[in-house]
């Protein structure tokens, strides 16, 4: 790949990610504002967004933040909230034959739900290149870090993003992407199992076990329907 191709791929990634980059801005601002209200300094907020870079676990951390902060509780909660990344990196890792070894690991360090979902969607119709992935991940990363910092400074002046429906932007993106993974009835079985397990777990257990439960149920459903088809054949 020559420089021009690399640039074109990178720009393609940025273009695909543009709506999500816009949508993450209010969320970063809200995160910074919430963290500041919990007594974190702007430096601490920025550091967390820069080295953790996983919104869900950062919001959960704000729920359980104490003074002094407990590294054990916060580390364990981040592990639980982000355990879905294991599945996500296994899945997208298998679609990165065009990446060098180090590039693959570097890409994983920036694996976030939105970036992963766009990369998966790209891999369904084209060869995923490192430059395209960088176009997804790098601007999104800097916007997350900078809006967190901005939110921690201007937090008190922010309105409620719920009133404008902006909190729904990410669920909406995921709805659209789910539709893109539709491959017929076996996908329906996976989705139904995942939704049922996630909703049930969400009602019964606190925290984010529902994501792990839904993901596991969906994968098990895929394997079970597979075995039935083989038994019939």
């Amino acid at each position: 790949m020559n420089t021009k191709d690399v640039f074109r791929e990178f720009a393609g990634g940025v273009r695909a990610m543009a709506p999500l980059i816009v949508a993450v801005m209010p969320i970063g601002l809200v995160f910074g504002a919430v963290a500041a209200s919990k007594g974190l300094s702007s430096l601490e907020v920025t550091l967390m967004s820069a080295v953790v870079f996983a919104g869900g676990s950062q919001f959960v951390a704000m729920d359980i933040w104490t003074h002094p902060a407990s590294w054990g509780a916060l580390g364990f909660s981040a592990l639980l909230v982000n355990i879905r990344h294991v599945l996500m990196s296994a899945s997208i890792g298998a679609k990165m034959p065009a990446f060098s070894g180090p590039a693959k690991y570097a890409a994983m360090l920036l694996l976030a739900d939105e970036i992963w979902a766009m990369a998966e969607s790209r891999a369904t119709y084209a060869r995923l290149s490192a430059a395209w992935y960088a176009g997804l991940a790098v601007p999104f990363y800097f916007v997350w870090v900078l809006t967190s910092l901005a939110g921690s400074i201007v937090g008190a002046f922010l309105g409620d993003p719920k009133a404008m429906g902006l909190d729904f932007a990410f669920p909406a993106v995921f709805v659209v992407l789910v539709m893109g993974f539709w491959k017929g009835r076996e996908t329906g079985v996976v989705l139904a199992a995942s939704a049922a397990a996630a909703v049930l777990t969400h009602q019964l257990l606190p925290g984010v076990w529902y994501i792990a439960a839904g993901a596991a149920a969906g994968v098990v459903a895929a394997l079970v329907t597979d075995q039935r088809q083989e038994a019939r054949a």
């Binding site: 916060l74 296994a90 659209v176 939704a195 969906g218």
Partner: protein, 101 residues
């Protein structure tokens, strides 16, 4: 601009845990041979994870969110990503205002 040592330690613990999960899958597929069964499980991961993330919001948060999720899914069959997302955000804002949630 202060950095409390306990806060710094907690942030680093969160970062370490998150890096483990991000690298975990990559390490996993290096050591597990990918046969048809494994391939099928891997293929089910993206829709299963995405559905699990949105299911509580889409199904049990409230009528406004359920309506907006349906509208987004319908819009996605005809419109590009950004337009479908805008439709969902619009529907949720209007529905919340009407229902008063």
């Amino acid at each position: 601009m202060t950095l409390d040592p306990n806060a710094a330690l907690a942030i680093l613990a969160m970062a370490a845990a998150t890096v483990l999960t991000r690298i975990g899958g990559l390490v996993l597929i290096r050591f597990v041979a990918i046969g048809p069964q494994q391939r099928r499980a891997l293929e089910a991961i993206p829709p299963a994870v995405l559905m699990a993330v949105i299911a509580p919001t889409a199904l049990v948060t409230g009528p406004a969110e359920t309506l907006a999720a349906l509208a987004t899914a319908l819009a996605a069959t005809r419109l590009p990503l950004l337009a479908a997302v805008a439709a969902g955000v619009f529907v949720v804002a209007v529905a919340r205002a009407v229902i008063g949630a």
